[in-house]
């Protein structure tokens, strides 16, 4: 299945600025571990397995009176990464909330493994991790308790200890979260991704408040996740060293005369 392991951004309507993007996309390089993705792709596309593709068709998003973006299409296969860029307030977070099913698209639809997500969001929600710009941390709980709780709210095995280690939080694992710095809180939020596995990561400014060590850990996590067939959508305005990632400039889908 050629083209199954890359992510393309297709301008749905010709004539929209986005058209120029399609030529400028970096060519996705084949990666080691390719056979993982290919093996998974053999299964039926109706199964909600690792090989399922996340497809957005002609998405538009409205917040109140304002049309944030329109005509946005994307396709995310196993191992793909998509970096969403744009100015503050351009709709990066709205796109991620929309992909997380927290916002309903004004037009267009989302498909997971060929099935419309809007019809039955539960199977899709079970395979995504949404990391918003808020950390979902209670000051009175410890990082370990926080991870145990959030991992317990999901299906599948929990690896709380591994997650704390992966983000370098071992030392503070049993402190109350109110003692954590902004960067440590971000690390704890990222640790949720490791504590319970999910093939689709939707990350809103994942590197916010992280130091260089934290950024390094984040990039490592993302590569390991993609090598195992996972996929990532990250909204960021910091340059993150995610290799062979497609980029989506959300400004290209902003209706003329708005924003």
């Amino acid at each position: 299945m050629p083209g199954s392991r890359f992510c393309v951004v297709i301008p749905a309507k010709p004539g929209i600025q986005g058209e120029k993007r399609s030529g400028g996309l970096p060519d996705p390089r084949p990666r080691e571990g390719d056979e993982v993705g290919r093996a998974n792709l053999i299964g039926s596309s109706r199964d909600f397995d690792l090989s399922s593709e996340l497809v957005g068709e002609d998405l538009a998003c409205r917040r109140g009176e304002r049309l944030v973006f329109r005509g946005l299409s994307l396709r995310l296969a196993a191992g793909a990464a998509l970096v969403v860029t744009g100015a503050n307030g351009s709709g990066k977070s709205s796109l991620l909330r929309l992909l997380a099913t927290l916002l309903r698209p004004e037009t267009g639809r989302l498909l997971w493994g060929g099935s419309a997500i809007a019809a039955d969001p539960a199977p899709y929600r079970a395979v995504i991790h949404y990391l918003g710009h808020l950390d979902a941390i209670k000051p009175a709980l410890t990082p370990r308790e926080t991870l145990e709780f959030w991992a317990g709210q999901r299906v599948g095995r929990a690896a709380v200890g591994d997650a704390l280690t992966a983000l370098g939080l071992d030392r503070v694992a049993d402190w109350p979260c109110r003692w954590l710095s902004a960067g440590q809180r971000r690390r704890l939020a990222l640790a949720r991704l490791v504590a319970s596995p999910a093939p689709v990561w939707l990350l809103d400014e994942p590197a916010a408040a992280l130091d260089s060590d934290g950024e390094g850990r984040l990039v490592t996590l993302i590569s390991a996740h993609r090598a195992a067939g996972g996929r990532v959508v990250a909204a960021t305005h910091q340059p993150l060293a995610i290799e062979a990632a497609g980029t989506l400039a959300i400004g290209d889908y902003t209706p003329a005369g708005v924003g």
């Binding site: 808020l134 009175a140 959030w150």
Partner: protein, 221 residues
């Protein structure tokens, strides 16, 4: 189901560790009741006649004052997004949060109510009806309150607004709860009031999570 109990356990743990949470509702309840004898005068006859009403009104106000902690913290720190995305249906998650809220307010108020009944000079024979009434009625206060708390998420003064929304809906438990004690004073006529109180709570148990979850989904948009 594990998710349900984990959510209840976490909310109880938070209420416990953040100290004040339980103490605030109970303290508010106690103070409101204690203020009444100062206002209406210490005549035992008068106090006894209005005692059930005083305790029930104070319980309603204490319940309303504690509503903002149902969803506001989870909404503010982004936890509500994750709860909405978890496999646990949002209606069930609302039920879990209501259970934790009831255990830390409704049940706590019920437990201290006999002591307050003494302050307003209620006859000891009437206390079982009062306690039973609170036990049956306070779940409805939490459940209906959850609708108000969910509807006012993101509003500028959520506490005041949800009180305005919710207090009129608290009329049936107030009427039947206080009425049960008064009917009981006549000699064992409290049964009908208590049954209606229980019926109201059961109705709220079915309908309130659905309404509150719908309001929460709207708030997350």
């Amino acid at each position: 189901m594990a998710g349900f109990f984990a959510l209840v356990r976490r909310d109880l743990c938070l209420a416990w560790r953040q100290g004040g949470e339980i103490g605030l509702a109970v303290g508010f309840f106690v103070l409101a009741v204690v203020l009444f004898p100062f206002g209406v005068g210490p005549e035992p006859e008068l106090l006894r006649r209005v005692s059930a009403g005083i305790i029930w009104v104070a319980a309603l106000l204490a319940a309303v004052s504690s509503l903002d902690r149902l969803f506001a913290a989870d909404h503010a720190d982004g936890g509500l997004d994750l709860i909405a995305l978890s496999p646990l249906p949002l209606e069930v998650a609302v039920l879990a949060k209501c259970l934790a809220h009831w255990l830390t307010t409704g049940l706590a108020l019920t437990i201290v109510s006999p002591a307050l009944a003494v302050i307003v000079d209620m006859a000891s024979a009437d206390m079982p009806v009062l306690v039973l009434g609170l036990l049956l009625g306070t779940p409805a206060l939490t459940l209906i309150g959850a609708i108000g708390a969910a509807l006012t998420l993101g509003a500028r003064r959520p506490g005041v607004l949800s009180a305005l929304l919710v207090l009129p809906l608290y009329l049936p438990p107030l009427i039947f709860g206080a009425g049960a004690v008064e009917a009981g004073m006549g000699g064992g006529g409290a049964r009908a009031h208590l049954l209606l109180l229980g019926a109201f709570s059961l109705g709220a148990l079915v309908l309130a999570p659905i309404a509150a979850a719908a309001a929460l989904r709207d708030a997350l948009e």
